[in-house]
Every structure is written in structure tokens, then in C-alpha cells.
Amino acid sequence: MMNGNDTELPPKLAALFREAPEASQDPASDEAFVQAVLRDVRRHARAQLWRETGPWLLAVAGITIASWLLLPQLLALPSLIASWPDALLSSLRVGEAGSKLLPAAVLLLAVLLQFLGDWLPRRWQP
């Protein structure tokens, strides 16, 4: 049947097209399609909003946390300056160095988050 020149449509198939059901109206699937598209459009809008504001929010949060952690050192700065040789000596001790490392690490983390918040969403674009 299919290996020769007999490629004409069988009569029954032609009839199938003539009596084909009306295909234009399917409100349920139309609505499902529209909702699926709109869902993705809103997701896209949210992603863009996050891309635009996220890095700034992260940076502000990072700086706030860092400032809060550094506050004792900042408040103690005048007395540290007044007795700087003692302060210098104490800062060289392991324990003091560790306490100064934490704010620096937080600052570094804030910068890293700012970079990731700006760069990663672009990479994740569909």
C-alpha cells in the first residue's frame, strides 16, 4: 500500500475531514494557555524587580550588619587612639585579631552577595 505509487488518501479519510468536529472553540484550554503565559510574564516581572533591587537590598543589609558588628570598635576608637601603643600590641594577639576578622569577613560577604545578586539572575534567564 505505502510502497508504490498508491499515495491517494483513502476515501474514508477524506470523509473524516469532512465530518471533522468544530475545532475553533475550546474556552478551557484557551484560558489555561493564557493563564500559563501570564504566570510566566509575572514571574519574569518579579525576576526583573529582584534583579534591579536585590543587589541594593543585600548591600544595604550587609553594610548594616557590618556597621552593627563594628560599632564597639568604632565607639572604642578614641580611647584606642589615645593609647595606641597598647591597642597595637593587643590587636596583634590572636584573640583580638579574630574579633577584627569577623567584621571584615561580613563586609567581604556583603560585596560578594552584591556581585552574586547582580550576576546570577542574569545567568538564570530562561
Binding site: M1, M2, N3, T7, L9, P10, K12, L13, L16, F17, A20, P21, A23, S24, D26, S29, D30, E31, A32, F33, V34, A36, V37, L38, D40, V41, R42, H44, A45, R46, L49, Q125, P126
Partner: protein, 176 residues
Amino acid sequence: MKEASDQALVALALAGQTSAFELLVRRHQLAVRRWLRRLGNDAALADDAAQDAFVHAWRQLAAFRGEGSFRSWLYRIAYCQFLQALRSRRSRQALQERLQHEEDGEPLVADCHATPDLERLLAILGLEERACLLLSYGEGYSHAEIGDLLDLPLGTVKSHLRRGVLRIRERFGIEV
């Protein structure tokens, strides 16, 4: 036979059982016609292209290797037939002009105050964007499958989808 898979029906049709192909037509005709109607917003053109697609599928049935689904194979044929029908009727130019007209800021059916419905959504999209969005959101095909089906590179499919979504968002002013 009604419970048989598409692949099994194709095998039966190739063996000479016309009724197996009839069953395939009954199974997929509605989906193909509906997809083409949405694609072109022209019922007559879509139905003609759908019919041509099934005729073509019947004639080329031996070329179906069963690597993908039968419906995907049909959609691919239907899309080619649809494009041919568009060209032969010179409707493509008219459609593109209409779409371009809308893109230039004078929408015929879509405006930012209207609630987006299917017709308004599709009216602002180009032909390939429509095809990609309909297959992705309407039929659930993956980006790679759409690429195979429409014979487009994966990156092009993704950019069509992204551009379509952006255009809908801008035209209808959709915010979070």
C-alpha cells in the same frame, strides 16, 4: 485497536490497515487544527493546512521512525504545510504587515487597558513567537522539542519565548 499506541497504529497502517490511520487522524486532528488556528487566526487556512498535513503524513508515513512522538511529527508537518499555505495565498505578507502595524504602536485588537485573552495575546506576537509560545505553554513541549519541531536552534526558541513574554508584558502593562 482504540487502545493501541500511536506507534502501533502507525505500524498497522504501514501494513495496510487504513482504519489504523483513520484512528490516528481522529486522535490528533482536533489538536492539530486547533494549534494551526491559534497560530494563524485564520480558521479556513488552518483547516486546509491541517488536512494537507494529514494527507502528507499518510503519504510519508514510512518516514516516521518513532524517535519522537507521533503528534510532534504531525505538528512538524502541519507547521510546514501551514507556512506553505501562507505563502501560496500571500497571506503571510498581509499577516506580517498587520503584526508590524501593531508593533508600530497602533494595535488593532490589543491595548494596555484590555484584559489579555487568547486572541489579544496572540495578536501582538510574530509568527514564530506564536508557534513557540503555543507549543511551550499550550502543548507543554520542552524548548529542545520545539527546536526540533520548528527546525529552529535552541537559542532561537529561547529568544522567541523571551521576546514574546516581554512583548506581552509591555503591551498589557503587567507588573508583579
